[in-house]
């Protein structure tokens, strides 16, 4: 039962990163590459039409995590208090940026909200990457110092940074050089993803340029990927252990590399949807590979005193988990139906659709 819910939540989270990921990426492209008002408007629309239904997946993942693994939810959300509040602020500023830019037709008003949308998107991509890095690295559960726990063994609190910025100190902060690397990988990945989305959904004048951007960023990403794999042993002494034990898990890195390699042909693709599919594969492969390295751990402990938080020691009762399955399935079916309706109504290029605002 624990494994079932872990898979469901991991799946929903992956879908969230794919869907809201292109939103974030769209914001980053908007910030750095959109110069003409027409492009700015249509690129904002490529995110604005979809962001709230994409964020539903985050809310669903959060809710289900709360229901199935309450101890993890409580521990992680209070321990990562400061970065989560930062993420909240960014989500808010990104959303109002998108929603408000069209309300008043004045250059100053639009510039303020465009920047709000772009900068928040960039920082959100960075912080979600940093968050993933933190989960892979683990935290000092129980706040252990000199072999004594300062809190209950499953609680912790992370400052934003520790002066050493090292992942292997006793009390690592949210931001250290390892999590920054993962954060940058996330930014590069989502920028590629966002660019592919814009090319797919719009006729923006910068689309040809964006294909070059994707190609160049992809080279950067390949280098960063190799670098991160080579340093992974710092946070996880046996990064390959799970892959040796469950060879089926190798499918996740395979998905990642298929996407990554595929994107080198971005300029040759006949259909724009191919490039977007590649970046979807890349994101889903990246997230799932990380989770697969850790399974069944959800949050590793960096000390030897307190055990890791796993799907087994953080789950709610067997009854609670089983009674939620029927309604969860109905919910997922609804989400899929909606997804199809949305695809039908908002499929194709959106440049000339009249959005009522």
């Amino acid at each position: 039962m624990e494994i079932f819910w872990f898979v469901i939540i991991a799946l929903i989270l992956t879908i969230f990163f794919i869907l809201d990921g292109y939103d974030f990426g769209t914001g980053i492209i908007h910030l750095f590459f959109a110069k003409k008002e027409k492009d700015k408007e249509v690129i904002a629309k490529a995110a604005g039409l979809f962001w709230d239904s994409n964020e539903v997946w985050l809310v669903a993942a959060g809710g289900l995590l709360f229901m199935a693994f309450p101890t993890l939810y409580a521990s992680a959300f209070s321990g990562f208090y400061l970065p989560l509040i930062i993420i909240l602020w960014l989500i808010i500023f990104r959303a109002i940026g998108l929603e408000l830019r069209g309300h008043i037709n004045h250059p100053i008003w639009k510039t303020i909200w465009d920047k709000s949308f772009g900068v928040s998107s960039l920082l959100l991509a960075l912080f979600f990457g940093i968050a993933l890095g933190n989960i892979a690295r683990g935290v000092n559960l129980g706040g252990v110092e000199n072999n004594l726990s300062a809190y209950e063994p499953h609680y912790f609190f992370l400052p934003l940074w520790d002066a050493s910025f090292s992942p292997s100190t006793t009390h690592p902060g949210v931001i250290d050089w390892f999590t920054i690397v993962i954060g940058i990988i996330a930014v590069v990945t989502l920028t590629i993803h966002g660019a592919n989305w814009i090319v797919l959904k719009t006729n923006a004048s910068i689309n040809t340029q964006l294909k070059n951007v994707v190609f160049n960023l992809n080279i950067t990403l390949a280098v960063l990927t190799i670098f991160s794999v080579s340093i992974w042993h710092i946070v996880e002494p046996h990064p390959l252990a799970n892959y040796l034990e469950y060879p089926i898990f190798l499918i996740f890195p395979t998905i990642y590399f298929t996407g990554l390699i595929g994107l080198f042909f971005v300029k040759k693709f006949k259909k724009e949807v191919y490039a977007f599919t590649c970046s979807c594969l890349m994101i889903s492969g990246g997230v799932t590979s990380t989770l697969a390295t850790m399974f069944p751990t959800l949050l590793p402990s960096t000390n030897n005193l307190n055990p890791d938080l796993t799907i087994y020691n953080t789950a709610t009762s067997e009854y609670g988990m089983s009674v939620a399955i029927p309604w969860m399935i109905i919910g997922i079916i609804l989400l899929i139906i909606y997804f199809i309706i949305q695809k039908k109504l908002l499929g194709g290029k959106i440049d000339n659709m009249d959005y009522g605002h």
Partner: protein
């Protein structure tokens, strides 16, 4: 929640009568709804986070139970609303009128389901059912269905929905009054005013009786300490309790100053017996009483007082409407216009009553509020983020007012620009 119902009423009436004005009204209020919804989403996500960030111990102990209803809220209602709202605003031409009505209906369904599931969560905190406490102190669910058959839930849900309908009908009526006063969009103004006062009277009555009445009886039954505090009953009254109309709680001498009260009414309202005993605050140990009795007492009396005023104003308006004098009677138009903040105040004070009344508990009788907080988060950090949110929400509030104001100013006829 209230507005979504009014919108589909307008839309439904348009389908029946085919008069453009009703469609204008539906689309106009959906624009206002959309601004509300954006604000609701972005201030609602922090609420979901807050369970974990600020109330970790509470989440750890009760997540197996309230996680159910909250996760359902996230998966069903939030999804229904956010996705179908976009379709409603965007898809009228693509879908045709009947489907357009249907998407509006789903927005309504989503927002009411959301209210229901949030209230189910709150009802469990007010009156826990269907649980078991394990040796390690964790609450686990034993009966899923009891979360929804909780006797606290239905009255609280209906009371809350009716209160939201009061708020929205005041908003609709006051926009109508505004248009009539400035002599712009007068045809729409008359429609809004008429719709607003009719729904306003019905919902103001329903919010008091039976839904408010049933809620008060639930409080008397399940949280007698909260009941005594909100009614201002310091001493147990054996031969029937009086109802306090005005008076200020004096917490030093444990009595009400400058009290004006009507004898025996409270006993009658609560138990339908004139001389039934009502337990006062003297009956309870200090540690069982709500920690802020004056705030609870005032919140309750402000809510009830405003509710009574709403019934009065809406009743008078209906009388004028019936005699065909409402649209020209300026004093009443001005009154309706200026009353618009008060239903919001009544709603907020109503929630204060529910939440202050439950103190000192998070889960009534079982888990104290002080035992639910995040122990690893220092007060310096929470103060820092609280100050930040205060500033941010003030900015959001300001933006909200500007945008709603602008939409109202543009009026219902300017749909395309």
């Amino acid at each position: 929640m209230g507005l979504s119902l009014i919108i589909i009423l307008f839309k439904g009436y348009y389908l029946k009568s085919n008069k453009e004005i009703y469609n204008d009204a539906a689309k106009f209020f959906m624009k206002i709804f959309a601004i509300n919804f954006t604000m609701g989403v972005i201030t609602g996500i922090p609420m979901e986070f807050q369970f974990g960030t600020n109330w970790a111990k509470f989440s750890e102990l009760t997540g197996g139970i309230i996680g159910q209803t909250l996760a359902m809220e996230g998966t069903f209602s939030f999804f229904l609303e956010s996705s179908f709202l976009a379709l409603f605003i965007f898809g009228e031409k693509l879908m045709g009128q009947k489907l357009h009505f249907l998407t509006g209906f789903f927005v309504f369904l989503g927002s009411w389901a959301s209210g229901y599931l949030i209230l189910a969560t709150n009802a469990w905190m007010q009156h826990p059912v269907g649980y078991e406490i394990l040796e390690n102190g964790k609450f686990v669910l034993t009966h899923f269905s009891k979360l929804f058959s909780n006797p606290w839930l239905l009255p609280a849900f209906l009371h809350n929905q009716m209160a939201s309908l009061v708020t929205s009908s005041f908003v609709v009526a006051s926009i109508g009054a505004f248009y009539l006063l400035i002599k712009k969009h007068e045809a729409h103004g008359k429609l809004f005013l008429k719709t607003g006062v009719i729904i306003g009277l019905i919902s103001s009555l329903l919010v008091a009786f039976p839904t408010g009445d049933l809620n008060a009886k639930n409080v008397a039954k399940y949280q007698p300490a909260a009941f005594a505090a909100m009614e201002g009953i310091f001493e147990t009254e054996d031969a029937g309790a009086e109802i306090v109309l005005i008076g200020q709680p004096n917490m030093v001498e444990k009595k009400l100053d400058n009290k004006i009260a009507v004898p025996n009414i409270l006993s009658f309202l609560t138990y339908q017996e004139w001389d039934k005993q009502i337990i006062g605050m003297d009956h309870f140990d200090e540690s069982e009483l709500p920690d802020n009795i004056p705030a609870l007492y005032y919140s309750y009396h402000i809510m009830v007082g405003l509710g009574t005023i709403f019934i009065g104003i809406m009743g008078i308006s209906i009388l004028f409407l019936y005699r065909k004098k409402l649209y020209n009677f300026k004093p009443l138009l001005w009154t309706i216009l200026f009353l618009v903040p008060f239903p919001f105040i009544a709603n907020i004070t109503g929630w204060y009553v529910a939440e202050l009344g439950r103190q000192p508990y998070l889960v009534y009788g079982l888990l104290k509020t002080v035992d639910g907080v995040s122990l690893t988060v220092s007060s310096g950090n929470t103060l820092f983020t609280l100050l930040g949110f205060v500033a941010l929400y003030m900015l959001l509030g300001l933006l909200f007012l500007v945008l709603v104001g602008k939409t109202i100013y543009h009026g219902p006829q300017h749909q395309k620009h």
